[in-house]
């Protein structure tokens, strides 16, 4: 191929990709730069105010060492695992699946009632959902009123059991996503497959465990991945309900990063915690990509 033709071909190909440039610029400026900045700043003593705000000093891995020595960080990491495991992987996932399966057997009116109720909690702005959950669990809130009908005198749940309240609130808020994913997945399971199993005399739960679930395993994996990432990033719900308290009893990593950086003004330590969260997100993201690739092949 003559040189000029080749150059024109390259130029042509470059011109074709030109429309992607605005997106790349936005992602580079507002995604890549903060991530890079985060890793960079996590090795300094950058602060919100004072001398260290103007001239942050390089402190090496001090922030990360402090994380391991600090009593709050390991607690916070553990609370994050509990929060994600209990509210997303168990709560939202299993409840969403159960609702989707039950909807296949129930009547149309009931389905639209439950569908609307579950989706409403999800469509509401996060802060409004958080207010509603706060009111629900507070000392003279709805939950204690319901318990009162049965003669039980409830505690102030937000202080007594902060983790349980934010877990339940996040299940309430997020189950709609899993429900929608599983409804779509179940509607694509061929009817004759489950009917053949019915003829074979398989009971309901056997059919579910051995036939339906293996068919929709791709959707299960995708759903687990996405709700894990969404739950990992939950801030507003926890901030409004317990603000991480009492005394750090519900401080998940996003709340801890916020407190260190903005309440205590320690940007260096805050970005170190944020960097850990970003790394966890990247690992899950990479796993998610592999999962989707495996499915296509």
């Amino acid at each position: 191929m003559p040189d000029s033709t080749r150059r024109r071909a390259i130029k042509h190909r470059f011109l074709r990709l030109l429309p992607v440039v605005p997106s790349i610029l936005l992602l580079a400026l507002f995604f890549l730069a903060p991530v890079a900045w985060s890793f960079g700043a996590s090795f300094t003593d950058a602060a919100l105010t004072g001398k260290a705000a103007l001239h942050p000093q390089w402190v090496g891995v001090d922030n990360y060492a402090r994380m391991l020595g600090d009593a709050v960080f390991p607690l916070s990491a553990w609370l994050t695992v509990v929060f994600v495991g209990a509210s997303a992987i168990l709560g939202q996932n299993l409840l969403g699946l159960a609702i989707a399966v039950l909807m296949g057997k129930a009547g149309g009116t009931m389905n639209s009632f439950v569908g609307t109720a579950v989706v409403a909690a999800w469509v509401l702005p996060e802060i409004v959902a958080a207010f509603a959950a706060y009111a629900y669990f507070s000392q003279d809130g709805t939950l204690n009123q319901v318990l009162g009908m049965f003669g039980v005198h409830g505690a102030n749940w937000l202080y007594a059991l902060p983790m349980a309240t934010i877990i339940l609130a996040n299940i309430w808020r997020g189950t709609a996503f899993s429900m929608l994913v599983y409804r779509a997945a179940l509607s694509e399971v061929p009817r004759d497959v489950s009917e053949a199993a019915l003829m074979d005399g398989a009971r309901g739960w056997q059919r579910l465990a051995y036939i339906t679930l293996p068919i929709i395993r791709g959707s299960i994996a995708t759903n687990l991945m996405l709700i894990t990432l969404q739950t990992l990033a939950v801030f507003t719900l926890i901030w409004v309900m317990t603000a991480g308290g009492p005394s750090n009893a519900s401080t998940t990593l996003p709340v801890l990063a916020y407190q260190e950086a903005f309440k205590l003004g320690d940007i260096g330590y805050g970005t170190a915690i944020a960097s850990v969260l970003i790394l966890i997100g990247l690992v899950f993201g990479a796993a998610y990509v592999r999962l989707l690739r495996g499915e296509k092949q």
Binding site: A120, A135, A274
Partner: protein, 290 residues
Amino acid sequence: MTVFRAAQALTVKRPTAARAGARRARLAANSALAVIGLCFVLPLAWLLLASVDPHAGYQTRWPASPSFANFAAVLTPELLFQPLVNSLLLSAGTAIVNMVAAVLAAYPLSRYRSRFNKPFMYAILIGTSLPVTAIMVPVYGLFVQLQLLDSMPATIFFMATTTLPMAIWMTRNFMDSVPLELEEAAWMDGASGPATLRKIVLPLMRQGLGVVFVFVFMQAWGNFFVPFILLLTTAKQPASVSVFSFFGQHGAIAYGQLAAFSILYSVPVLVLYTVVARGSKFELSPSIAA
């Protein structure tokens, strides 16, 4: 073997017994769903009842003297309209930046084969999984250094970037479903790439574009954390942030007004969601998982 077993099942199980079993299963499913549905509705009861109760607390009760006093109290320019206008500016701006950038990016990704496509789409997918709350600390630092703090346009561009990976992913999927033949015919007639995009591709995928627009708009409308960190002046803050001030920041909590404001602030996204869920065959979330 299966045929035999099938025949056996048919003879063993009489149809009436099977029908009774199905009816029982249906009843059980209905009652289980009724309980679940009630549990999900219960936390919303307070919101609705407190909004029409001038003496509301955190108790859920029928208002002794129901009135729209709470709504009347928040229906003032600085309490309601300014924050809602700010929310609208932020959300519409975010959605427009997203649409323009995503459509432009999706066109070559969908229409031309290139070695660049695959790695880019995978990078985009990883981008969708970045926890946005985690990057808020570094973004704040970045905004301080670039002196972008308290700037509406900068906040819009940042919010647009957080939803951009998802928007590109969805837009490309919708564009892929527009058949190439129509464009090829237009190319034959001498139409340029931008012209075919504008006149043929975009009109054919307008329903998909609507879904992307609503998806981004709703995310931005409900976003509390980003404007909470990046916008400092009260006059620029959206409803999601200003509603927080009812929540005891200026002394006692105004329960009834908090509930009334929350409802007024939620109505736009509830309406948008209903319109999209009813009017199109696309569900918002499974299009993400697809």
